[in-house]
Amino acid sequence: MNIVVLMKQVPDTYAERKLQAGDNTLDRDASDAVINEIDEYAIEEGLLLKEAHGGEVTILTMGPDRATESIRKALSMGADKGVHVLDDALHGSCAITTAKVLAKALGTVEYDLVIAGSEATDSRLSIVPALVSEALGVAQLSGARKVTVDGSTVTIERTTDTGFDRVEGAVPAVVSVVEKINEPRYPSFKGIMAAKSKPVTTLSLSDLGLSPDEVGLVASTTTVESYEEAPPRAAGTIVKDEGNGGAAIAEYLASRKLI
C-alpha cells in the first residue's frame, strides 16, 4: 500500500511568531522551523501502515527552501522518499491554492492513501485535507484517532464529544489524523544516516503545469489586510479573602459583564 503524507513545515510553536511588514505574511526566517506537530503523527501512522501492509511512504510538502530539513527528518524517521514543491511564486498562497498545488503534486505519485494532520499550528485553518480530497475527487475521512485498512476499504474512528464515529470509505482516500492516534517515533542514528541517500524530488510550478498567476499572493482568495500586536497582558486584580471573597469575585465578574 503506497501512502503519501502531507507535511507542512511551520515556525517552532514555542517561539515568538512574527508577520513581515509589506505583505503581511508570516516571517518564516524569524524562528526555527519544525515539522507541524500533528504531521509527525501523520508520518508515524503512515509508517505503521507501511509496516503492516508493505508499500512505500512518500512525504509531500509545499514550502520554502528550508522545508528540505523537515523532509529529511521525516525520511530519517523511516519514510522512503520526498516530494518538495518549491517555487518563489507560491509565497502567500491561501489554503485553497495550497490544496490545489498539493493535489496537482499528488498526480505525480502513486498512492492508495493520503494522510494529513488535522491542523497546522501556524494558521490553524484545518481545511487543507478537505480541500485536497475535493480537488482529487476522493473520500475524506477527517479527525482520525484510529485508522485501519482492509483491502480497498479504509475505516477510521473520529472522536466526538460523547464517544466516536466510525467512518468508512473506499481507497484512495484522504485521512487526517489527531494526536491521540499514536506516539511518533524519534529518528534513529541509522535512520539519519540512511535518510541522506533517499530520493527527494523537487517540483516547480511549471513541472505541475501551473502558472505563477494561479498561485501565491496574487491568486489568494483571502488576504491579511492588517494586523496588530496583541496588547500586553494587564496586571491582574488580587482579591484578598477577608470573609467576603465570594462576593468580591462575583462583583468583579459582574463589573466585567461576565455574569
Binding site: 530519517s76 542514528f189 539519519i192
Partner: protein
C-alpha cells in the same frame, strides 16, 4: 581544520536533545528522589540507536559491516551522553557505562561466539552489562585485584568481591565482565599476578549482587557491590587472552574517560543555562542579579569553562574516530577528563551560588547537579590518576 560538528552530528544532537527533554527531563527529579533506576527507558534509548553507535551492523549497531558503512562513531556517542547528561546525569552515566564498560570489552576482545551471545540484546536495549574492576581494596591501584578465578574441570571458579559496579544489578543486567587473578607470572623483579577478564552471566549460582549503594548523587544509576563465592562459569567465558586483563581494561578506560568528559560537559552546560535564566529573573535591591558584575562575571567564566571543556572533549573524540595512535588518544582523553570534570564540579558550585538559598533546595535541579558532580572527579580514574597519566605522557618520571 574545522571546529564544527558535521551536519549529521548536529541533526543527531537535536534528536537526542528532543528525546532528553521529552522522555527524561520531566522525570529526573522524581527518579532522583525515589532512587529509581528507569529500566523502561533503556529500550527507548536503544530505539534511537544510542547503544549501537560503535557496534557493527551484524549485532544491530550502526557502525557498518567493517567494509562499507561509516564505522564506529564515538563522537556521536559523546554527543548523546552530553545531551542526556544535560538533563539527567544518572541517565548519562547509564549510557556511558552501558556502552563503555558493558558493550566495549566484549566488542573489543570477545570471540565471535561471545559477541553473538551478548551484543544483540545489549545493543537493542533488552539487556545491560557491567564491568567489574574496582574492589573494596583495589581502585586506583586496580592491579591489586584480589578476586581469583581458578580453572577447575573446564570451569572458572571465581571467589572475591567487587565494589561500585555500574549497571551490574538492574532487572535487565545480563552479565558482568570481571577482572580476576588467574595465576602468577614469574619475573626477574619477583612474581606479579596474572590478571584475566571473565564474563559472568547474571543469575549464575555463587554470584551475589548486593543491595544498591546509598549514594550522594547518581541516584537513578544502578550501582552495586558484587560477591563471588565458588561461582562457576564455563572456560569459554574467558574474555580475550589469558593474562591480558590488565592491558585490556587500560584500553577500555581511555574511551570511558572521553565519555565521562562528555557527561561533565552536559552538566556544566546545564549549570550555565540554569544560571543565565535565573540571573535574569531574580531581582534583588531593585535589579536582576545578572546586572551585578559579581554574578555576571562568574557566569561568564562558567561559559568559558563549558566551551573549553567541550573543545577538549570533542577533540579527543575526533582523535579516537580518526584512529590516531593509542598513546595520543590516551593523553587527550586524560586531559579532557581532568579538565571537564573539575570544570563541572566548579560549575555546580557557581550555579548553586547564583540560586542562593534555592540552590540548596531539592526542588531546583541545580541542587541535584551539585550532588551529581562529585563522582565525575573519581569514576574511571580519579583526577590524581589523570594527572599521573598526563605526567607520564609528558615523559616525567612521576611515581
Amino acid at each position: 581544520m574545522s571546529f564544527e560538528l558535521s551536519a549529521d552530528h548536529e541533526v543527531f544532537r537535536k534528536v537526542v536533545r528532543d528525546f532528553a527533554e521529552a522522555e527524561v527531563a520531566p522525570h529526573a527529579a522524581q527518579w532522583d528522589r525515589d532512587h529509581h533506576f528507569p529500566v523502561d527507558l533503556i529500550p527507548k534509548m536503544a530505539e534511537l540507536g544510542l547503544f549501537g553507535l560503535v557496534v557493527g551492523e551484524q549485532y544491530g549497531g550502526s557502525a557498518g559491516d567493517g567494509v562499507t558503512g561509516s564505522g564506529p562513531d564515538f563522537t556521536a556517542l559523546c554527543l548523546a551522553i552530553e545531551e542526556l547528561g544535560r538533563v539527567d546525569q544518572s541517565v548519562g552515566i547509564t549510557l556511558s557505562a552501558g556502552v563503555g564498560l558493558g558493550i566495549n570489552p566484549i566488542l573489543a576482545f570477545g570471540t565471535d561466539a561471545q559477541k553473538e551471545r551478548w551484543l544483540p540484546d545489549l545493543v537493542a536495549g533488552r539487556a545491560l552489562a557491567g564491568f567489574g574492576l574496582t574492589e573494596p581494596e583495589a581502585g586506583s591501584d586496580a592491579g591489586a585485584t584480589r578476586t581469583r578465578a581458578e580453572l577447575v574441570d573446564g570451569q572458572w571458579v571465581i571467589n572475591g568481591s567487587k565494589a561500585f559496579i555500574t549497571n551490574s544489578g538492574s532487572a535487565i543486567t545480563s552479565c558482568v565482565t570481571v577482572t580476576a587473578r588467574t595465576g602468577v607470572i614469574p619475573g626477574p623483579s619477583g612474581d606479579r599476578p596474572e590478571i584475566s577478564a571473565v564474563i559472568v552471566p547474571s543469575g549464575t549460582p555463587g554470584f551475589e549482587v548486593q543491595p544498591a549503594y546509598d549514594k550522594l548523587g547518581w541516584h537513578a544509576s544502578d550501582t552495586h557491590g558484587l560477591v563471588f563465592e565458588d561461582c562457576r562459569v564455563p572456560e569459554a567465558n574467558l574474555l580475550g587472552a589469558r593474562g591480558a586483563g590488565f592491558k585490556q581494561f587500560l584500553a577500555i578506560l581511555d574511551d570511558g574517560r572521553i565519555a565521562i568528559s562528555a557527561l561533565a560537559v552536559g552538566l556544566a552546560q546545564a549549570c550555565l543555562e540554569e544560571s543565565v535564566r535565573y540571573a535574569k529573573q531574580r531581582t534583588t535591591f531593585g535589579k536582576p542579579i545578572g546586572a551585578r558584575q559579581a554574578i555576571a562575571f562568574a557566569i561568564s567564566d562558567l561559559a568559558v569553562a563549558v566551551e573549553a571543556a567541550r573543545g577538549l572533549t570533542y577533540k579527543a573524540a575526533a582523535m579516537k574516530d580518526a584512529g590516531r595512535p593509542a598513546a595520543q588518544v590516551k593523553q587527550a582523553a586524560a586531559i579532557a577528563k581532568l579538565y571537564s570534570t573539575e570544570a563541572a564540579v566548579s560549575a555546580t558550585r557557581v550555579a548553586t551560588q547564583v540560586f542562593g538559598g534555592y540552590g540548596f533546595i531539592e526542588e531546583y535541579p541545580v541542587a541535584r547537579f551539585y550532588r551529581d558532580a562529585k563522582i565525575l572527579e573519581v569514576g574511571e580514574g580519579t583526577s590524581e590518576v589523570q594527572r599521573m597519566v598526563i605526567a607520564r605522557g609528558l615523559g616525567l618520571p612521576v611515581e
